[in-house]
């Protein structure tokens, strides 16, 4: 599994994503945003967390319009895997690779804490190492994670089973930190090859720093063997 982590000005979780991928057996490489092509034989593109372009205009809006994103769109159109975490999720919705939009948290505060999620399905390249319905504990750190889309889009996403993760409490009870519709923490594209999520599984891959519940996502990806094209 060759992974290309796109580094935008203001990204700051690329090191965490790199470590999580490498620890799972993938071969990550950092790719500067001014590149126009992905490295040859890229299987997975990762858009890391952070504050690309200082969150100017709208979170992810400017990064989403860079030429490297044309290469990412082409990669996704070929069925290649794309993972957007936090600001990466915001870039994915701004670039049109995922529907909807991430608005300011309902209570206006930047939230930085541990949060439980329910894994909605495990038959995807991103979640095969988890059990369906498993509750995992990972970190969230965002000011704009309130997922919104029009009612038709939400009905389509839910109907197609494209919700990847939902916010919940330790025992699966309701616990929505940011006001997201239907407690949505992450969604898949139509082809289930693009995943965007607000939480940070890449920060939970080492027992020394709080837990290992994020490992499953990277282990799923590392064991998934489908070439991009």
């Amino acid at each position: 599994m060759n992974a290309a982590i796109i580094l935008f000005p203001g990204s700051n979780r690329e090191g965490d994503a790199f470590r999580a991928l490498a620890a799972s057996g993938a071969r990550p490489a950092l790719v500067w945003h001014r590149e126009t092509h992905l490295p040859p034989k890229t299987d997975l593109v990762v858009l890391p967390g952070g504050f690309s372009y200082g969150d100017y205009l709208r979170c992810g809006a400017i990064a989403a319009r860079e030429s490297i994103m044309d290469a990412v769109r082409a990669h996704a159109a070929r069925g290649g895997l794309v993972l957007g975490i936090c600001n990466g999720f915001q870039i994915l919705v701004e670039s049109g690779l995922l529907p909807g939009v991430l608005m300011r948290n309902a209570k206006l505060r930047f939230i930085c804490r541990m949060q439980h999620l329910r894994v909605e399905r495990n038959d995807t390249p991103f979640a095969s190492a988890y059990a369906r319905g498993q509750i995992i504990k990972v970190a969230i750190a965002h000011g704009e994670g309130n997922y919104i889309a029009d009612s038709e889009t939400i009905a389509r996403i839910e109907g197609d089973g494209r919700v990847a993760f939902r916010y919940c409490g330790a025992n699966g009870e309701a616990d929505n930190p940011n006001g997201s519709i239907n407690d949505i923490a992450g969604i898949y594209s139509k082809g289930f090859n693009v995943l965007g999520l607000m939480p940070h599984p890449e920060n939970l891959v080492d027992a020394l720093v709080g837990g290992t519940d994020g490992r499953g996502l990277f282990e799923s990806l590392a064991t998934f063997a489908r070439p991009a094209a």
């Binding site: 205009l57 809006a61 909807g100 939009v101 608005m103 300011r104 206006l108 919104i148 889309a149």
Partner: protein
Amino acid sequence: MICGQTPIKLDGGFGLRFYLFEWALFFARGARNVRSPINRELKMKARVVVTLRNGILDPQGKAIEGALKSLAIEGIESVRQGKVFDIELADADRASAELVLREACEKLLANQVVENFAVEIL
């Protein structure tokens, strides 16, 4: 105040009079289609206003609304926050300027999932 210097008074002093004289000169020359002494040309200007669509929750607007109410400013029903972009255009043609601005809004300035835009040529 800067140490050891007399502060410059603009209100009614020589500075303001000179400043107004400069602008008067600029407009007088502009009318005869001559370049101004401070090298400013008359360009087309536009203002783009981006607002949240109706029905989209605006927690920032709500917080501002609450703050205004706490200041006992009476008569405010509600507040919605938006963005203003002041844009200078190279082209002085109105119709093509509107097309350019519309494209700018659709491609970048507004996220039409949740925002509307309005273009005003000044």
